[in-house]
């Protein structure tokens, strides 16, 4: 049995349609693919489509066919699966010896039969440390079977472990270059897995990367610290190593770290000359880097870290309260007119900006203690209704809304739907290019951990 690896999504171009409706693949691509999967692809590419009307309609010259390799089966599909639902690309799907048309005709029955296989296949794949693309049936099963969710979780864990740096315990975004954000998220995602050695190693590396001023750099090779990376690292320490001395210095550095608006001259500038962006410079939080102004995401993450540490009395309580109050005020001030948050501003040159899902989700996580405020309720309503096709944003949305289960009755259903969608979209390998997305997806699919949850007031 051949397992197709994760990178098994290939695009073919139909060069010409022969008299027998053969699918002709560009030679160099076919050669590369056949080399890897000789037994599987030859029958596919040379298989006549048959003389059905469907084949004639769907396979046109120069049409691109997306071949979705499914599970352990050979792709033997007739092109009957609805192509138009996939942005005009035809999806030739197969697996388990089922023709796609058969699935289409007796969809539910076939899919259920497949789903059991999909679970087994996923488990076998993870045992071999390989990723498989679940079948269509598998996707349906994910929606219905919590066991498959754990199988997906398992696959994501394996992928995350595979991506750790050669010396283990550090992660990069899309390359191996060590960075704080992917490392922190990966450590959090793996924190309750069997990979405790890796987590310990990673935590050691993370602590070694802390700078003298208590901050973390965004990327290990950068010289200066950044509030976003520091807030993320502080959140990780709160969960993984709460009584560690570096946590105290991280929190202190966050409290000390002030954006440009903290200085009166900049406030004056924003009041007198730089007036095209509507915001109150008296209300400030944290920027992406020292010497810049406050932005929503770093502010929200710093608030989460400080709020979660409140009970530990690691920093001066008065200063902590002051920065928390200022930060909350800044977030509420920068909220978009219809709810939710853009990157940093809400109105520029009199134009209201549209909210972003990730920024809104992280801001809502931070504002949990203010959940009864109308601005928060409005933003939550926006987030729950926001359409999203991306794993990264979906994961943040799930993590944020999990904090609001007791606030609004429809949150639970919304989370389940979002999780189903998340499990569906991560089948697209392009979505998992970044290690942070894998880690966030893992955290979003797990019920036992939410490192960004702030306790209700």
């Amino acid at each position: 049995m051949t397992f197709l690896p994760l990178a098994s999504q290939i695009h073919f171009r139909v060069l010409r349609k022969g008299p027998d409706h053969l699918l002709h693949i560009e030679p160099e691509r076919a050669a590369g693919f056949n080399e890897r999967y000789p037994a599987k692809v030859n029958p596919v590419v040379k298989r006549p489509f048959g003389n059905t009307q469907t084949a004639r309609e769907l396979v046109d010259i120069d049409q691109h066919v997306e071949f979705v390799a499914c599970g352990h089966g050979a792709a033997v599909g007739k092109p009957g699966f609805n192509s138009r639902e996939r942005n005009g690309r035809m999806v030739v799907c197969g697996g388990h010896g089922l023709l796609i048309e058969q699935r289409h005709n007796s969809a539910k029955k076939a899919l259920r039969r497949d789903s059991e296989d999909a679970i087994r296949v996923s488990e076998e794949c993870s045992a071999k440390r390989q990723m498989s693309m679940p079948t269509i049936g598998g996707i349906l099963a994910f929606l219905q079977n919590p066991g498959v969710r754990s199988a997906t979780t398992r696959l994501l864990i394996d992928e995350l472990v595979r991506r750790s740096s050669p010396e283990h315990g550090a992660w990069g975004f899309i390359t191996e270059q060590e960075a704080t954000e992917p490392t922190v998220l990966a450590l959090l995602a793996l924190s309750r897995s069997e990979h405790q050695n890796l987590v310990r190693l990673g935590l050691g590396i993370l602590l070694r990367r802390q700078l003298a001023d208590g901050q973390w750099p965004a990327v290990a090779s950068l010289r200066g610290g950044c509030p976003w990376a520091t807030a993320l690292a502080a959140n990780a320490l709160l969960l993984l190593s709460p009584w560690n001395c570096p946590l105290k210095s991280a929190l202190s550095s966050l409290i000390r770290s002030a954006p440009s608006e903290a200085f009166w001259l900049y406030r004056l500038k924003f009041r007198m000359t730089d007036t095209h962006v509507r915001f109150d410079p008296n209300k400030y939080g944290w920027g992406w880097a020292p010497g810049t102004i406050s932005w929503v995401i770093p502010t929200a993450m710093a608030l989460i870290a400080l709020e979660r540490s409140r009970r530990m009395n690691l920093v001066d309580a008065k200063e902590l309260e002051r920065r928390l109050d200022l930060g909350y005020a800044m977030l509420l001030d920068r909220m978009c007119p219809g709810g939710g948050w853009n990157a940093g501003n809400s109105v520029v040159y009199n134009v209201a900006l549209a909210p972003h899902i990730d920024a809104s989700a992280i801001a809502l996580s931070a504002l949990r203690r203010h959940c009864r405020r109308p601005e928060v309720q409005q933003s939550l309503a926006w987030l729950l209704s926001a359409h999203c096709s991306s794993a990264y944003s979906l994961a943040w949305r799930i993590l944020a809304t999990r904090s609001y289960l007791d606030v609004q009755p429809d949150v639970r259903t919304n989370i389940e739907e979002a999780r189903e969608q998340l499990m569906s979209v991560i089948q697209d390998l392009a979505q998992l290019a970044d290690a942070t997305t894998i880690a966030l997806a893992l955290l979003a699919l797990r019920d036992d951990i939410n490192p960004f949850a702030v306790e209700p007031a």
């Binding site: 965004a218 440009s260 920027g287 102004i293 972003h356 999203c388």
Partner: protein, 342 residues
């Protein structure tokens, strides 16, 4: 009101003019390396809409430049900011797909599309919502998220921002042939956003924040000069089929220009685009300064290929802060000087 505008026009022109003069002085002192070619080439291509045969139009246009791309890795850098429904914010993905195919046909070993969107951290979402994702799949192109690519420290020879180095993405530094593919737009901070400003997008968000906040604080015009001095753009394909005027780069109005501008010099490309926009390029500080050492702005040093510049142009609408870009405004002595070949 009129007095106000005149004062602003004078002030802004003076600023652009003195900046350019200072850059010229640095060049003559040998502090700045003069990278200007004796002659730059620009081709203006007509394309009525994105439904036009873009591949054929680009093939015809690119052949005019006799590019040697054999075995080279071509990096296409579109302007991909974020998706705003019914607004032409980004370089059209159809143009990017067509350009990729043409470069491959011209012998490129590989074509990579790379960008680091400025506002949205969720790059995949931007790709998917803007239609780039489907084009990437269709043309089997590799995309690199420059916000999260491997960082390499590059010492700066120019110090407009006062920084001694920049952190740049390895993919950009490794590319043999960099193609800036801007959307022709007005810009509420920089006046215009064309091929030079488009290179702001290569700056990694992990190092400079979203939206590249560190560099905004160092000064947009100064950042543009340093970035372009550090990473030379080899070619420009500017999307002026549907451009943007008014409150660009996100919330302006669509303006159909029906043109694609190709050039082997980003400064020449931007000057030509600004002329197509009916705006005075010499009054855009980063363009005036770039024309002193990065490329050619003076018409005498730009050889026009393909279609010629239109005789009259209805100027793009601009925000009041940029009223001085509209040519009816007074000319500065520097501009008068620039009109003569140096």
């Amino acid at each position: 009101m009129m007095k106000d505008v005149t004062r602003r026009v004078f002030g802004a022109s003076l600023l652009a003019g003195t900046g350019a003069m200072a850059v010229r002085r640095l060049r003559t002192l040998g502090v700045l390396h003069d990278r200007r070619k004796p002659i730059s080439h620009v081709a203006i291509l007509y394309a009525e809409s994105y439904a036009a045969p873009l591949e054929r139009i680009l093939t015809d246009g690119l052949r005019l430049f006799h590019l040697n791309l054999g075995g080279k890795t071509v990096l296409l850098k579109p302007n991909l900011v974020e998706h705003i429904p019914d607004t032409e914010v980004n370089t059209n993905p159809l143009l990017v797909g067509a350009a990729a195919d043409v470069f491959l046909e011209l012998g490129a070993r590989e074509v990579i599309v790379a960008e680091g969107p400025g506002h949205e951290r969720d790059t995949y979402l931007v790709l998917s919502e803007t239609g780039f994702e489907s084009q990437l799949r269709l043309h089997q192109l590799r995309f690199v998220d420059l916000n999260r690519d491997e960082l390499v420290r590059v010492p700066l020879k120019t110090r407009f921002m006062g920084l001694d180095s920049l952190w740049l993405p390895r993919t950009v530094l490794k590319a043999d042939f960099i193609v800036s593919m801007p959307k022709v737009k007005t810009h509420h901070w920089a006046g215009v956003t064309l091929s030079l400003k488009n290179m702001f997008g290569i700056m990694p968000g992990v190092a400079y924040g979203w939206p590249k906040n560190v560099l905004h604080w160092k000064g947009i015009d100064r950042s543009i000069l340093d970035i372009n001095a550090a990473v030379p753009v080899h070619f420009v394909i500017a999307d002026g089929i549907i451009a943007m005027e008014g409150n660009g780069p996100l919330h302006g109005s669509a303006r159909t220009l029906g043109r694609i501008v190709l050039s082997d010099d980003p400064v020449a490309a931007d000057f030509t685009c600004a002329r197509l926009m009916g705006l005075n390029s010499w009054r855009v500080p980063h363009l005036a300064q770039a024309a002193e050492f990065l490329g050619n702005g003076a018409t005498e040093r730009i050889q026009q290929l393909g279609e010629s510049l239109p005789r009259s142009v209805r100027p793009f609408a601009v925000l009041p802060e940029f009223a001085h870009l509209v040519p009816e405004a007074t000319r500065t002595p520097l501009e008068l000087q620039q009109r003569h070949p140096r």
